[in-house]
Amino acid sequence: MTEPLLKVEDLRLAYQTERGIVTAVDGLNFEIRRNEALVILGESGCGKSSLAKALLRVLPRNVNHYSGRVLLDGVDIMALDPERFRQDVQWLRISLVMQASMNALNPVVRVGEQVAEPLWVHRGWSRQKAMTRAGEVFELVGVSGDFLRRYPFELSGGMRQRVVLAMALVAEPKLVIMDEPTSALDVLTQAGIMNRLKRIKRELGTSFMLITHDVATSSEIADRVALMYAGQIVELGSAAQFFANPAHPYGRLLMDSVPRLHQTRQPDHIPGQPPNLMLLPSGCRFADRCPARFDRCDEDPLPQSLSERNEVRCWLYADRAETGKPRELHKTPTPVLETRPLSKEVLVAVQDLHTWFELRQWGFIRAGYVRAVNGVNFHLYRGEAVAFVGESGCGKSSLARTLLGLHPPTRGEVVFEGHHLDALNKHELKQYRARVGYVQQDPYGALPPFMTIRRALSEPLIIHGVRDRKEREARIRAALEEVRLSPADDYLPKFPHMLSGGQQQRVVIARSLILQPAMIIADEPVSMLDASVRVEILRLLRTIQNKRELTLAFITHDLSTVRHFADRIFVMYGGRIVEAATVDDLLDFPQHPYTQALVAATADPDAENAAQERELPGGEPPSLLHPPTGCHFHPRCPHAIKGLCDVEEPPELEPRTGHYSACWLHREP
């Protein structure tokens, strides 16, 4: 048995804030071996990002407590003085990959220089030599060397993430810490980067510490998993064991809550909320939400060893030595969602819809058109739930905004309950807006931060002429009841920032229901929420849709969330619908090459994932300003037929009954 590369002992980190002391990291112990990938899995606010910063000593000014031992190759790097640490450890031995939002790279320095910088600072290399090396790492992560002299804002999101990855690899460190490296990216880009990481791990023998909230992504690379909850590691074990059979109740509930592409069992949510890191409860921190809770949970649980290198912080396993078996986990089964048969009454008919945006220079000169929605036809029936699936920039949000009447269509028409949308006058448009509800991605942003919940919910009513204060109050309370925020008095006087993300999203749903709409458009309603809350919101939407016989247009980039929450799926690419079918038919028998790629890229959590690379199309999504001719997917399509796909737009064909796909491959031979 060799010595581990990194051994962390009793690491603690706390911040002083205006409202109190936040204990972000509370006594962590773990180790990472050479060429091993450890995944730190946890929901937002469990302290996992602080862990990355604590290991690299990038601490904010308000640190209140910072202690523990971090042994790197047997040497305690916590004890090193800052200058030694900076010169010897940072970047040469441990490097960091941040979530590559626009801000992860210095906007005014060329990316090549930013990547090469550590080499001339730490190794004293010449700039030329360092740049050559940067070119090599660029190739390693799959970015052309031509981009070395570009600035970050000239790169796409996926490319920036690769550059950040290249930066971390440039000095060949033994350990790379990655903090949510792919969570802001599209499915295909994300899968592409994970493929790269697997190859790099195999070829360079680097160790990784991956910090993420996304169970599916974590399974892509994990050798071992550490599950974090409220500043502590509650379960630590091998990936195979964790993904197949997690031990800690939180782990089990978490795995059950993950929506899966290839599973017919409906996902379930975890009730309750994680504790506030300022007011940590004594005893087990998960006890409040735990279905298996018993009296001993009032005591702080000690880590129980299950097998070698596998431990769990839960009293259920304390007496295992005597009984040989852990206590049972009692969980009330959640009711299965019912789906109703499709009605045949058309609510919305969309014909040849185009939504283009004008680009202007200096506000006066037209520079071109962004073809966000570029020729779309479909019908939505009353009472059905339809999912629009596609990557960012495929036009799905613009389609939503056109359906909401926020953008006039450039061409084509939308007919709603028999009325042509572009023929509505100002008054009728307002009436129409009451008939269509809107739920957005970012629940906090969707509520005016300066209005109380009561005020925010009264706004639509005031606008639509409900003058009577008592009537408004009654309708607000009813709406809150419907989204299961009760008692209403607890929520009405609060401001949005005082609620959790899930509660905020419920308020947004309540607001969308308050005008008694016939249709709700939900644009990525759960992608900004934590895994355990997602299912809860999706179920709520589905239940309300069933009960009220609403039409639900559910827009998402994540195929795995669709299975139980929609009846039909439309797959969008480059401003067009490329495939349409019922949920099961589409997920089980994808026809269009793009849908096939999406399905292939969507991972269900499984320890096997780490072993294989996925088949993915290359390239980037098409520019909406200058879309490719013919089929928009042809530059990336492995089956593209030269002279046909790049010239002529494919017609909508029906390769299976009721299953439509716009691809030349389906034409009769």
């Binding site: 506000g363 991605q441 931060p449 606008i463």
Partner: protein, 442 residues
């Protein structure tokens, strides 16, 4: 709203904010008292100058300033004939009055001027008056006599003949101890005897002897004998009103216009932006100067121009930058989706969002405009009738106050300006730290 009260409550943690608020409250209180105690028209009328101030000394420094330095400069003494023991001797067709006007003088310096104001009434023929000066050491100095009109004055200190006779300025010579090389005040009781012959039985004459001092009141006086206190007091409400109105006018209109441009976008936004850029190269002060010389220097016109030029000022660009991301924020789209009208979105959704960030800017803008008004006045473009701090400074500068060591004349309005500036700036900076989310995070 709770948000506001919470933020404002946080202010108590900043001593500077409390100090600023105390200063502002004092200034506001002073303004209210001033406006109540002396109505606007009256103040304006007096500030125009003239006879109202004839019994005030010129360029007298504040009394407390001199006393603080241990000085004993003379105050102004006014001796009225109504209080004097008048001897009256009647004769046919008239009477002869002998009015002794006594005063005690024990100041260290000589008075700045001596005047005798006479008022004769109910006569058909003008009376005749003769003056004699009695010193404490019983010297008698005849000061001559002449016929007196209905409202007349003997300007003793400008009597050149007397000056030649005494060999000193009259106001010095009359009170000096005789026989010393450098003149020195002879303390004691002086009497000016007015010997008047009235040619009518019903006729009356009253006299006021004014021995002008070298110190006056709280604020001193200017070259036109006006009490500076009037301008200093009335300058407060004017400065506050100008600052406040200009700040409100510019910030609110700019904000609403920026929000409108941001909301509607497109050509309107572009036009507003181009206008701000053009406005940026129009220099504010020179244009105000131009307007002031070509049209009028009325404070209201200036205010109008300031607001007009302020509408498309650089802050419009700042607000625009702040509003652009808000325009795209989901809650605005949601509002649009549930049917909120354009004006409702602009006024109820866009503007309130940046109001907290705006408040500090607004508060710090007030003193900027107060100083702008003062700047114009110092350039001689102040409102012609209003008593303002800037005008006091302008007068002081025109009279070379610093060169003549009338420091109080410059310092008092300057300190008031500074106080106003500091009060609002202190509060504004603290508000900025409380309301600006980006500052809260550091």
């Amino acid at each position: 709203m709770r948000y506001w009260s919470e933020r404002l409550w946080e202010l108590r943690r900043y001593p500077s904010a409390l100090l600023g608020m105390v200063i502002i409250l004092c200034l506001v209180g002073l303004s209210i008292v001033t406006v109540i105690a002396m109505p606007y028209d009256e103040a304006l009328d007096r500030w125009r100058g003239g006879d109202y101030w004839r019994m005030h000394p010129r360029n007298a420094e504040p009394a407390w300033l001199d006393r603080l330095q241990g000085g004993n400069k003379p105050k102004t003494l006014i001796i009225s004939s109504l209080d004097a023991e008048t001897e009256s001797v009647a004769f046919t067709g008239g009477k002869r009055l002998k009015i002794p006007l006594h005063f005690d003088y024990d100041f260290s310096e000589f008075p700045s001027e001596i005047n005798l104001f006479l008022k004769a009434e109910k006569h058909t023929r003008e009376p005749f008056a003769r003056l004699t000066w009695h010193t404490p050491d019983r010297r008698e100095i005849p000061l001559g006599g002449r016929r007196v009109s209905a409202s007349d004055r003997f300007s003793l200190s400008q009597d050149w003949a007397l000056q030649r006779r005494l060999g000193l300025l009259p106001q010095v010579g009359l009170l000096a101890r005789p026989g010393t090389d450098s003149p020195e005040v002879l303390p004691g009781r002086y009497t000016l005897v007015l010997d008047a012959v009235l040619f009518d039985e019903a006729a009356e004459i009253t006299a006021d002897l004014v021995v002008y001092g070298r110190v006056h009141g709280i604020a001193g006086t200017d070259h036109q004998r006006r009490d500076l206190l009037l301008a200093l007091l009335w300058g407060t409400p004017i400065a506050l009103a100008f600052g406040l109105l200009a700040a409100v006018g510019t910030t609110l209109t700019t904000l609403v216009i920026a929000a409108t441009g941001v909301w509607f976008g497109g050509r309107l936004d572009a036009a507003i932006q181009r206008l701000t850029e053009i406005n940026m190269i129009l220099p504010l002060l020179p244009i105000l100067v131009m307007v002031g010389t070509l049209y009028s220097t009325s404070i209201w016109l200036m205010l109008g121009v300031v607001v007009l030029l302020g509408i498309f000022s650089a802050s419009a660009k700042m607000y625009r930058a702040m509003l652009l991301p808000i325009r795209e924020s989901p809650y605005i789209q949601a509002a649009q989706a549930y049917g909120a009208s354009n004006s409702r979105i602009i006024l109820h959704y866009l503007v309130p969002r940046i109001l907290p960030v705006l408040i500090p800017t607004f508060v710090t803008l007030i003193p900027a405009f107060v100083f702008l008004e003062a700047s114009l006045a110092v350039l001689g473009l102040g409102d012609p009738v209003l008593p303002t701090w800037g005008k006091v400074l302008n007068d002081a500068q025109n009279e070379s106050a610093l060169y003549n060591h009338y420091y109080y004349w410059v310092l008092a309005p300057a300190l008031l300006l500074m106080l106003t500036g500091l009060g609002f700036a202190l509060l504004g900076f603290a508000l900025d730290r409380v309301f600006n989310p980006r500052l809260r995070r550091i």
